[in-house]
């Protein structure tokens, strides 16, 4: 029983990371109706930004490790947000009026560009990622253990989700985002500056991905230029699972995916699934969801009016 709870706890922290990435996919889909396949690579850039920020800032912080961690996190989020806005501006905006397939293929191009540029800059070999917060496992309640990093993941992801909800539901730019996702033409004709809203959406999604990247790197303690590929694809699955375009859906999908994946690996012997199949779990879920509930758990069916 305890082991099960422990596995679920581990799954939740992985799920929180998937959720942070998935939100970026779903938000961009909401405003532009296309899947930004370069999102996973923006995630990767977030991790590398974190690594270098940590190195540069470390000499200035002797005792305040938490402050350093906060600065690394915020800095990486800012850098990724800038990159996300830049990618949209340079690669996607010129194609705004073109068929969606064109943009989709461009996104794959941008993805490859980022991956191989990173390889050129940082080398292909995996790099160690420092543990941002010291200390190992915190002795938990009822024999459950959560590492410092896991606690950080829960607290910060929770805070970020609340902040996102606040921005989307309670601010003017959030209202503009919702209006744009419901009807771009009408939104523009009501005076909403669509380009500003789209840039903001990319920035917001990329910042969340960077936060996810810092956590991911802290958990696995190694990063490389292609680290964004699998988490990116899995987060995409999470977004589809929750219902693409739905923010609560993306969060829910991420958490479910993280827990299921961890459980499959944790109970691989009992289930008769070799642990090496962990990455297949997400895609089996994708196939099932596309077969049985293509609109996702919290998604709405789109009725297209002619």
């Amino acid at each position: 029983m305890n082991e099960l709870l422990q596995q679920i706890l581990n799954g939740l922290s992985l799920g929180a990371i998937y959720a942070l990435i998935a939100l970026g996919y779903t938000m961009v889909y909401g405003v532009l109706r296309f899947i930004n396949f370069a999102h996973g690579d923006v995630f990767m850039v977030g991790a590398f930004s974190g690594l270098y920020l940590f190195r540069w800032l470390k000499p200035f912080f002797d005792g305040g490790r938490w402050l350093l961690a906060a600065l690394v996190l915020l800095g990486a989020m800012l850098i990724s947000a800038t990159l996300g806005v830049l990618v949209e501006w340079l690669a996607y905006r010129p194609l705004r009026e073109k068929p969606r397939l064109t943009v989709l293929i461009t996104a794959i191009g941008v993805s490859l560009l980022l991956e191989y540029s990173a390889q050129l800059l940082f080398g292909a070999a995996p790099r160690g990622f420092p543990s941002l917060v010291e200390g190992g496992a915190i002795g938990g309640i009822g024999g459950l253990h959560a590492s410092n990093v896991q606690v950080l993941v829960f607290l910060v992801s929770g805070a970020l989700l609340f902040a996102l909800r606040f921005i989307v539901m309670r601010t003017r730019i959030g209202l503009a985002m919702r209006a744009l996702s419901l009807n771009p033409t009408a939104a523009a004709l009501m005076g909403v500056n669509i380009s500003v809203v789209i840039s903001f959406t990319f920035g917001l999604g990329s910042a969340l991905a960077a936060a996810g990247a810092i956590f991911y790197a802290s958990l696995y303690q190694a990063i490389d230029p292609f680290m964004g590929v699998l988490p990116g694809l899995k987060a995409f699955v999470a977004a589809v699972l929750g219902g693409i375009g739905s923010l609560p859906g993306a969060a829910l999908g991420g958490v479910i995916l993280g827990v299921v994946e961890t459980l499959v690996v944790g109970y691989s012997k009992e289930l008769g699934i070799p642990p090496g199949y962990r990455d297949a779990v997400a895609f089996v879920i994708l196939i099932l969801i596309l077969l049985f509930k293509p609109s996702g758990l919290l998604g709405k069916n789109h009725r297209e009016k002619v």
Binding site: I167, T171, R172, I173, L175, A176, R178, A179, L182, N183, T185, A186, A187, A188, L189, M190, G191, V192, N193, I194, V196, V197, F200, K305
Partner: protein, 261 residues
Amino acid sequence: MSESKSLLELSGVGIRFGGLVAVSGFDFSISTGELVGLIGPNGAGKTTVFNIITGVYAPSEGAVRFSGSSINGLAPNKITAFGIARTFQNIRLFSSLSVVDNVRTALNLHLQTGMFGALWRGRKFREEEHRVRIEALELLEIFGLAKMADAPCRSLSYGDQRRLEIVRALATRPRLLLLDEPAAGMNPTEKVELMKLIRFTQERFGLAVLLVEHDMKVVMGICQRIAVLEYGRKIAEGTPSEIQKNQRVIAAYLGEEVVDA
């Protein structure tokens, strides 16, 4: 300013989509306080003209001027800021937003703190936000929608949704209001209500109104002047009674008379 008092002026406007000439050589003007109809058979280019005026399409030729300045090829949100608002042939409300949020989206255009000021909610922002809600509610009140303010707008009846579209358009503080087939799908009683509503709106807000409509009773009933489009060209313009007698217009709608040789 110059002698010309027209608010909106289109001269020689045309647009092609590939080889298809949708509108060509279209001259038209409308002044404040006027209620003008734009009619024509299906596919004549009426909605295209709307899309050119509101910046959804940039014209391939000709000039569009609004209160003295050229608005050719400006982005839709810029044109909206100039004072042109529209409603849609098929209702395009933000369906899952509340009634009042639909109106707020449009009202936000004229706020000072801007979209990002809203992120750190200073006192100025909160005051402004409060004012926006009041203003939205006042507008809704005029059109009898205030009691539904917090309901999702898709729960409104068809007629109320049409009205809400007009309210939302008015919230951008337009000087010219474009109505694209507002009577579509309405029964005769609702149409009579609509005609009153359009006239009321125009007088209350001192607007110029350009109306695209298929229903001749509505058009003839409220418009002071009517322009007729056929195959993207203007074939007639005049008062309702002139238009009703115009042979060219009758031919466009009913087909040419067969003349014996």
